[in-house]
Each structure stands twice: as structure tokens, then as C-alpha cells.
Amino acid sequence: MRAFIFQRATDPSAAVQALAAAASANSPLTEAAVQPLAGGTTLLDLMKLDVMRPATLVDINPLAGNWSTIDFDGGNLKLGALARMSDVAAHPQVRQHYPVIADSLRLAASPQLRNMATLGGNVLQRTRCSYFRDVSYSACNKRHPGSGCAAMEGFNRTHAVLGTSDQCIATYPGDFAQALMALDATVEITAKSGVRTMPFAELHKAPGRSPEIETVLAPGELVSAFTIAGRWPRSLYLKARDRQSYEFALASAAVALDVQDGVVRDGRIALGGVATVPWRVREAEVMLKDQRLDEALAARAADAAFSAAVPRRNNAFKIDLGKRVVARALQQAATMEIRA
């Protein structure tokens, strides 16, 4: 960890001002000299590991007054970027109308972490790739573009099978983002130029040829809120993992179904633990449309979800596992009891 300057942002415009000050066109956001600090559960860890070396931290927690809403207006949901994971997971209306959100948060990390961590920080958490997190490995394209990838031929059990490139196979580790993907959420971004929104699905960028660029955010831009249109009571998050709790997904599925008279009108599937970014599988979703969901259909959809998967030495199991998780999640969602 390097010595750094600690600043506290008093209002959004001061925050984005401070963050934009050190912006440089050439370096990716994650390398920017000034970084926002929310719960700190990703950022401070990476600083202690010497992976991130910001010269300045801007504490955005003072913005929580306006940025931590959990607002359900009967039809739509708005979640502030500084809302804590634990608060959102426990919120009765979130649990009732958006079980996939509540589950994805409840099944993540530990109670202590969920009490600290924010939704904004959560979606922007960085990969758990061991080679990325250990600077003594010199080959990591995400840390040092062009240096190679130690994981590609190394121990890669937890790495991704979807959305990979020959530069990086690091898994996007979060759970909540899959729920946002499945529910077609919109993300609100606050910048110097003002507030804008865009589909959440456009926030993250697959590694491609530049794994150091993880999102479309530019220095000086903050995630301020997420909104979800409509209610999704028939939705859930299924997470397969090595431990019963306090563990990242080996494979997970966020599914949301709109079922009328036994027929799927709209079905959404997003995958976690298997892809380099939050991963929506539209090719599987279209197979569900206007169909009755049975075991065979669920299995076919699951196959489609992984048709593009590329395994490595230690992670090939994720393809089969991921398919079973998707199939099971779909069937569970189809039969789940909906609270009125």
C-alpha cells in the first residue's frame, strides 16, 4: 500500500470535480490517480495488496443522504448507489417484488461485508483472479497491459468460460449485477456534465484486447443509482459454490419469468461466476418465449446459454455445472410461489 491523500466529498459536484481533476485520457479508470471510496471492501484490499495505487481517495459516503434510497413506488424500483447491500437485501418490498435482487445480495459475501459494502461499489468490484491480486506475478494484462496472462496456463479453476479473450479470462465475481442484468436495469451516472442514464448491460466491458478497461465509466463519473421498471416477483438467484456461505459463485443464474397461464411471456437469464462480465443470455431467453417451461425446455435453454463457452484446464466443469444451474433455476422460478 502506498501513502495517499484522503478527501471527503461534501456534495456530488464536489465529488466529480475532485475525481475528474486527475483524469488522464491515456490511463484506464482503474489506474486513475483519484478513486472514489464507498464501503472500501474492494478498494482498500487491493490497495493493501499494492494492486491499486491511487494517490488520492475521495470518500463519497457523505453523499449517502441522497444516494442511498430504496424506493419502490408500486411499479418501479430505484436503488441508490450508496445503499448498503444488507439494507437492500432485507428490504421487505425488494424481497417481495424482486426476490432475485434480495437473494443475490443475501447470498453474497458475509454479514459484516454486506453491512459495509454499497451497491455502487458492488457492481464495480474487481476480479478475484489470484494472479491479478498478487503483484509478485508479473504477467497480468489487466494490471500491466501487454505483460501476458498468468492464469491462462496457470491454475484457473475459478476463471471464466464465457466472454474471455486471449488476453484475459478473469471472472466477474459479483452476484448483484446478474440480477440487474436479468431485470434490464438502468444505471444512473453522475458526471461533471450532469446526470445521464444508460442500460446497465452497457456498463461493463468484456476484456477483448484491453482487459484493463472494465467499464465505460470515465474518471470523474460516479454511479449514483439503479432503476428497474416493473415488478419481478417470479425471479430468483441460484448460486453454486464451494461453501454454504461466504463464498463467490462457481456458477450462478439470475432468472426472472413472466408466466401467464403456464406460458412464459418473458424470460430473463443472467449468469454469474462463469463470465468475464455480468452475462445475459438472450439466445437462451428467446427459446422460452411463449413456451410452457418443462425440464426438457429448461435443459435446451441451458445448453444454448453455454454454446459459446471456452474451457481452460481447470474450469471446464463450469460449463456443465452452469447448465445445470440454469436449468434448475428456470424450473424453480417457474414453480415458485408468488406472494400477492
Partner: protein, 763 residues
């Protein structure tokens, strides 16, 4: 009584609360790194990023710019220390790979520099700014890597005594009715105690004080003195609490003498707290092992031939091996037995003791094979053990001092509901879950070592016990206080215990589960000396001397009438007769069969442990039976363990509360060693990959929702005066086999390689 404090049965002490409960839960307990130091320099280690090769040079310019930097010590400017000698070969050290001695790199994560600064933060930052250039050679990572060398353990390591054999295995196996041949593998594991490897060194007028979590303060004191080339009397190790150790803090690691030498040079206290990942390479670990078991049996299940071949990884520098065939060849009756252990060298750090070092990997193989054999024979696995139960070990035909293995199986089976288990695999389901039940035997040698103690009794009934034992979470304070209170006839609350300080009378390493047996035997003996003085003073002419001797000598003999009356003696009157207000006694105790040089060795910090299978005319083991329910999700193949039941018989139970806690932790650890814990090695670089507590999987509470510990009464008068069998390492043995046996019962799939992950489940 509560679940945590079970009602004592026959030959069990009271479940008094832990002596150190309040300081621990209120945060008052001071661990090594909590000790206040005057103006310390903070040390931060730089460790190698290659496993084999040499350092070409350092670029320290960037590091030197950090404000508060004091010095950077590398092989170029480090003080030369004396040659290290391995613990298992008569020395003190965990490894003979001596860091900072040359530019050579012999292992991943070798200490290559120590950065010193005025603050921890500055030391860390400067360490992160150190640039190293290497010439790397291609290292050998493990068994299947090119470049290993393999040789029999016998003759390489003095700690490894024999490859037990008896009868004619080959012939008996060839003619056996039923044969089983199976191979098993266990992974690399690291102890990962919560408390990190910390070391603080303070010099004052030629006297060195070390604050370091240690399972053996006298070993550490002598080992560091030897490396520094100074008199051991000039070194003191203080360490009242150890935040977990599991073997990793038993032998001396190179860091201590390095930090001591730096502190002497700087003339300033130096404090080091190594990071979690550094802990994977600057101390020891449980090496990966491979096994081939061959069993021949008759149709009725009797073993007629058994062969166990084990291979273990060690470093290039050191021939370490745990060698568990000494027990697997003796556990069951069998006339024709053969075994062999070999050591396979790779470019790794030297492995070492980790909780039940030989038993965990070797019983995994044997107890899995027994289950396989039972299935082949269509026999209940418990009945297979019963048919082969024996009161004499087969190799030397020595009698077990006591052995309650089948009683443990029967009690455990009852509590678990074993009789309802389906023998046929894959027959029980519950919703999405396949359910399976499995069991296995556990055992652990009863070991003792010489120990000394000083006991002071006051006229007002307060006592102080001094013994350099170790509180590693085992309950050492508690049982020592209980032993003294019992013997002195005073309340537990009146006893003060001082341990964890090498200025106190020496006790052995808190390892091999010998602590309670050794320290309590010594303390009980010295308490007897105190009583004897008081008796003599009070009743010089009453001929009580012989009787008191009987009382204070061997612990199992019934206490004298005087002691039974509830008023062993009128203490105050006795003190008045003596004309003093304090009686203080010092004594040195050694177990039967300990070698002649035992006491000298004890003061030199060297172990003369006796017991287990290495006694002349008998064999002493504690036994238990473990039962596991596994559930495997048919969709995700996640493996969960809702229920663990263990029944154990371990001689006298000093305190059912601390005993239960040890065994419960053991069961959870054992389950974890089957399903979770494994250190992954990058094969190309021979480096540990998951060297942190997020990636090195340890169980969380949700992984162990139901754990039941059953303590069976057992009395054994042929072990140590305290009648105690060590149990700290009993709970986590055999559990790994029981888990795999349960997985077989749930799925029909036999898994012989640990850990079992969800991707290893086929159906």
C-alpha cells in the same frame, strides 16, 4: 450443565469455565504482536517471486525514498548466522533453507529482504517498492512434475524409525479370498492459524527477549541462541497466548534469528508481523501425499494381508516425512503386513507438522480402503472393524494399554442412527439432495515428554503454578489449574497459572497432543511434593509419610483417607507447624521409558517424547469413531455435511468442556480437510496460488450446522500419572475417510483423492 459443558462421566473432571475465558472475550489477552514495545522499528518481509534460481540484484532506489525508512537487509548485508539443523534430525529448525545467506533461491516465497521503517505503513510501502531481478530456473512443483527425486524415508530422517512389517505379505495376499488394491491422494494444506507469524525482538544489555507465538518456548529460545551463537540463558521467549498454531509454531523458523540479529544491529526493538500469504512460505505446511493400499481378507472379513505404501513431498533441502505407516500397520489384527514410506523431493519449502501429521493422510487411505473392503464383502463397515479389532498390535505383538475403539463405534452408531443406514449406495434422497452416511475410525498416539514445574502454596490457600506450557487454544491454563486445585485441595479459582515464558520451568512442545498428559503429570507430582512437606510438618510421628508418598506419587492410586475427608490436612495448622507462610516446590517429571538424558535435553529445548507405538512393552493410543452425513445436490453437486458425530475414549478427561471443544474443532477440521482445504500449486512456477483466507477454503459456521461429540469414560493406568491420553489431534483423523465413505453411500462413486469438490461428483 450445558451442551458446551457436558456432565462429567466416570473418570472425568469438572467442566469448569476456561481460565482465560474473560481475558479472551474482552480482548485483554495479549498476543505476541500486542506486546507494547518502546519505539520499535517495524519490519516487513520481501519474499521471492520465483521458486528456484538466483537473485541478480536489487533496485532499492525507489524504496529508499519512502519517508521513515531505516534500512533494507538483503543477503548482501545480512549478518551471517550459524548453520541451521532440522528439528526432525536433532536440531531446532523447521527448515535448513536459510534465507538471506546467499543469492540462491530454493523455494517460492523465500525471505529475500527485510525492510525496516519507523512505521508499519512505511515499511510496507518501501517493501512494495523494492525491485528484484532474478535468473529463474525451471522448478519442480510436485509429484508429477519433471525433476523429482524419490528415496525411502528410512535412513534420511532420524524421526522416521521403521517401515513396519511382519509375516509374509506377498504370499498371504496372493492366497487371500478377497483382494483390494486402491490408491489415494491427499493435498497440500496450510495451518492458517488466525494469529499471523509475528516476531518482536528486544535487546537489553546483551539479553534478548522474543515475543512470538510459539508452541515450544524452550525450543525457540535454544534454537535462536544457537543460530545467533550466544548462550541460551541470554534469550527469553514470552508468549502467554497463542492464537492458533496447529503445528506451524512448533519448530523454529528462520525469521526469528533474522529479526533478532537486525534488532541487535539497530539497537532498537524490531517488530515483524508477516502477512497471511507470507505465512504460506516462511513456515511449514502439510505436504501432499500418495498411497497404495493392498488388503487381502478372508470371506468373513478377517484381514490376512495388508500393505501400505506412502509417498510424501518434501523440499530439496530437507528429508521431512510424517510416516503414518507406524499406525496404519498396527490398527487392525493382521498376520502379514508390509509397508514403505518414501520421500519425493521438489523445489518447495520444507513441510512440517500439521495437526495429526501422520494420521490425517495415512488413515484417510486405510479407513477408505476398509470401507471399500466392507462393501466388497457385503459387510457393515463397523462389523468389519469389529472382526479385526485387537488388543495387541500385530507388528510387535505389544498390548494396547487400553483400547475402546468398538465401544466408540457402538456409542457413536447409536447416537447417529447408523442402524437405519442403507448399505446400498444411492438409495436415499431428500428433495434435491442425495443423502449418504459413512463412518471411520480415528486414533492418535498417547505421548508424553519430560516436564518441570514450580508450585507455590500460601497459608491462605492460594497457589501459583509455573510451567512453560503453551495456551494454543487447547485449554492449557484451565487443565493445569484444575490439576493443581485437585491435588492441593483448594478451589480452582484460587490457582494462578503462569505459562508461555521460557524463564519458567520447561515443558515440552505443545504438539503431539502430549501437553495435558505431560504438564498435568508434572504439576500433579510437584503439588504432591508440596503436600508431602505439609503432611510431614503436621504429623511427623504419625507414620503418614508412606501413605502420603502413595498419595503424591502415582496419580491413579486412590487418594489417602486424609485427602478423601474433604480436609486433606489442616493447611493452616501445617503452615504454622512449619513456621512459614509459603511452601514452594520445584520438580522435574519424566514419563516411564524416557531416555537417561531426558532432563538435560528438556532444558536444552530438545524433545524426548515417548509413547504411541514406540514404547518397549506396550502401545498407547486414544481411539474414536466418526460418523458423517453428507448431502449432495443433484443439480449443483454441492456437497454439504449437515451432521458430524464423533465418539471418543481418551483416558481421563480433565475437563469435558475443553475436551469437547477440541474434539468438535477436530471434527470440523476433518470435514474441511476432506472437502475444502487445499493449497493449489502453480505447476509451472512451483508457487502457491490461493495463499489467502478468501481462496484457501476454510469452513464457515454454515458448513458445520450439526456437530455432536460423545466422550466415553475410560481409565488407563498404564500411561502417565495423570491418566490422560492426548485428544487435541484425535478429532480430525479419519473424518476425511468418513466423508468419502458417506459420499460413496450417497452416490455410489468412490473418491480417492482429496479434496472432493463439486466437479468431482459425477452423477
Amino acid at each position: 450443565m450445558t451442551i458446551a459443558a457436558p456432565q462429567p462421566k466416570a473418570n472425568m473432571g469438572q467442566p469448569v469455565p476456561r481460565y482465560d475465558a474473560v481475558p479472551k472475550v474482552t480482548g485483554q489477552a495479549q498476543y505476541a504482536a500486542d506486546m507494547p514495545l518502546a519505539n520499535p522499528a517495524y519490519a516487513y518481509l520481501v519474499t521471492s517471486a520465483i521458486a528456484k534460481g538466483r537473485i541478480d540484484g536489487f533496485d532499492l532506489s525507489d524504496a529508499r525514498k519512502v519517508r521513515g525508512l531505516i534500512d533494507i537487509v538483503t543477503h548482501e548485508n545480512a549478518e551471517k548466522l550459524k548453520e541451521p539443523k532440522l528439528f526432525g534430525n536433532g536440531g531446532y529448525m523447521s527448515t535448513t533453507i536459510q534465507p538471506l545467506a546467499s543469492a540462491e533461491i530454493a523455494q517460492d516465497g523465500q525471505i529475500i529482504a527485510v525492510v525496516l521503517a519507523d512505521t508499519f505503513e512505511a515499511a510496507r510501502e518501501a517493501a512494495h517498492r523494492v525491485k528484484v531481478s532474478y535468473t529463474a530456473a525451471t522448478p519442480t512443483a510436485s509429484f508429477d512434475s519433471p525433476g523429482t527425486t524419490s528415496a525411502r524415508a528410512k535412513g534420511q530422517l532420524s524421526q522416521f524409525k521403521e517401515d513396519p512389517k511382519v509375516g509374509d505379505f506377498a504370499d498371504a495376499f496372493a492366497r487371500a479370498d478377497v483382494k483390494l488394491v486402491a490408491s489415494y491422494e491427499t493435498p497440500t494444506q496450510h495451518h492458517n492459524p488466525m494469529e499471523l507469524f509475528a516476531t518482536s525482538c528486544v535487546w537489553s544489555g546483551g539479553q534478548l527477549t522474543i515475543y512470538e507465538p510459539s508452541q515450544y518456548v524452550h525450543g525457540l529460545k535454544n534454537g535462536v541462541a544457537e543460530q545467533l551463537g550466544i548462550d541460551a540463558d541470554k534469550v527469553r521467549v514470552i508468549n502467554p497466548y497463542v492464537g492458533g498454531a496447529f503445528g506451524s509454531k512448533g519448530s523454529v523458523t528462520p525469521r526469528t534469528a533474522i529479526i533478532a540479529a537486525i534488532a541487535r544491529k539497530l539497537n532498537r526493538p524490531v517488530k515483524l508481523v508477516a502477512t497471511r500469504d507470507q505465512g504460506f512460505t516462511i513456515a511449514t505446511y502439510r505436504a501432499e501425499t500418495r498411497h497404495v493400499i493392498q488388503i487381502g481378507a478372508s470371506h468373513d472379513g478377517r484381514l490376512v494381508a495388508l500393505r501400505h505404501e506412502g509417498a510424501e513431498i518434501s523440499s530439496r533441502a530437507d528429508p521431512y516425512a510424517v510416516g503414518g505407516t507406524k499406525i496404519t500397520t498396527r490398527l487392525y489384527a493382521c498376520l502379514n503386513v508390509d509397508s514403505m514410506v518414501s520421500i519425493v523431493r521438489a523445489d518447495r519449502n520444507t513441510p512440517g507438522f500439521m495437526r495429526s501429521p501422520p494420521e490425517v493422510p495415512y488413515l484417510f487411505a486405510l479407513e477408505s480402503a476398509m470401507d471399500e473392503l466392507a462393501f466388497k464383502l457385503d459387510m457393515d463397515p463397523i462389523e468389519l472393524r469389529r472382526v479385526n479389532d485387537t488388543m495387541n498390535e500385530p507388528i510387535g505383538n505389544k498390548p494396547y494399554t487400553s483400547r475402546s475403539l468398538m465401544a466408540c463405534f457402538d456409542e457413536g452408531a447409536r447416537a447417529f442412527g447408523w442402524s437405519k443406514r442403507s448399505m446400498r449406495p444411492r438409495t436415499v434422497t431428500d428433495g434435491d439432495w442425495l443423502v449418504g452416511h459413512g463412518c471411520a475410525a480415528t486414533c492418535y498416539p498417547t505421548q508424553m515428554a519430560p516436564a518441570a514445574a514450580r508450585v507455590r502454596l500460601q497459608r491462605d490457600g492460594r497457589a501459583r503454578v509455573e510451567i512453560a506450557g503453551h495456551e494454543i487454544g487447547n485449554g492449557a491454563y484451565t487443565v493445569i489449574a484444575q490439576a493443581a486445585a485437585d491435588r492441593l485441595g483448594i478451589p480452582y479459582e484460587k490457582v494462578t497459572v503462569a505459562i508461555g515464558d521460557s524463564d519458567l520451568p520447561p515443558a515440552p512442545v505443545a504438539g503431539g497432543s502430549n501437553s495435558t498428559a505431560s504438564t498435568c503429570s508434572a504439576v500433579e507430582m510437584v503439588c504432591g511434593q508440596v503436600r508431602q512437606r505439609l503432611f510431614k510438618a503436621l504429623m511427623p510421628n504419625e507414620g503418614l509419610v508412606d501413605k502420603t508418598k502413595e498419595t503424591v506419587g502415582m496419580g491413579q492410586t486412590p487418594v489417602t483417607q486424609a485427602a478423601q475427608s474433604g480436609q486433606p490436612l489442616d493447611r493452616e495448622k501445617a503452615f504454622d507447624a512449619l513456621g512459614i507462610s509459603i511452601v514452594e516446590e520445584y520438580g522435574e517429571w519424566k514419563p516411564e521409558g524416557a531416555p537417561l538424558d531426558s532432563f538435560r535435553a528438556m532444558h536444552d529445548g530438545k524433545m524426548r517424547m515417548v509413547g504411541g507405538s514406540e514404547m518397549k512393552d506396550r502401545i498407547a493410543y486414544a481411539f474414536g469413531a466418526e460418523f458423517v452425513e453428507v448431502r449432495i445436490n443433484r443439480w449443483t453437486h454441492e456437497i454439504r455435511v449437515p451432521r458430524l458425530v464423533g465418539a471418543f475414549a481418551c483416558g481421563r478427561i480433565m475437563n469435558p468442556r475443553t475436551a469437547r471443544s477440541q474434539l468438535m474443532g477436530g471434527l470440523i477440521w476433518g470435514m474441511s480437510s476432506a472437502l475444502l482445504e487445499a493449497t493449489e500449486i502453480d505447476e509451472r512456477t512451483a508457487r502457491y496460488v490461493n495463499d489467502n483466507l478468501a481462496d484457501y477454503l476454510l469452513p464457515v459456521n454454515a458448513d458445520a450446522p450439526g456437530v455432536e461429540v460423545i466422550l466415553l469414560p475410560e481409565q488407563d493406568d498404564r500411561i502417565d500419572p495423570a491418566g490422560v491420553k492426548g485428544l487435541g489431534e484425535l478429532g480430525n483423523v479419519g473424518t476425511n475417510a468418513a466423508v468419502c465413505n458417506a459420499i460413496f453411500n450417497a452416490t455410489g462413486q468412490r473418491i480417492r483423492k482429496l479434496p472432493v469438490r463439486l466437479e468431482n461428483i459425477e452423477a
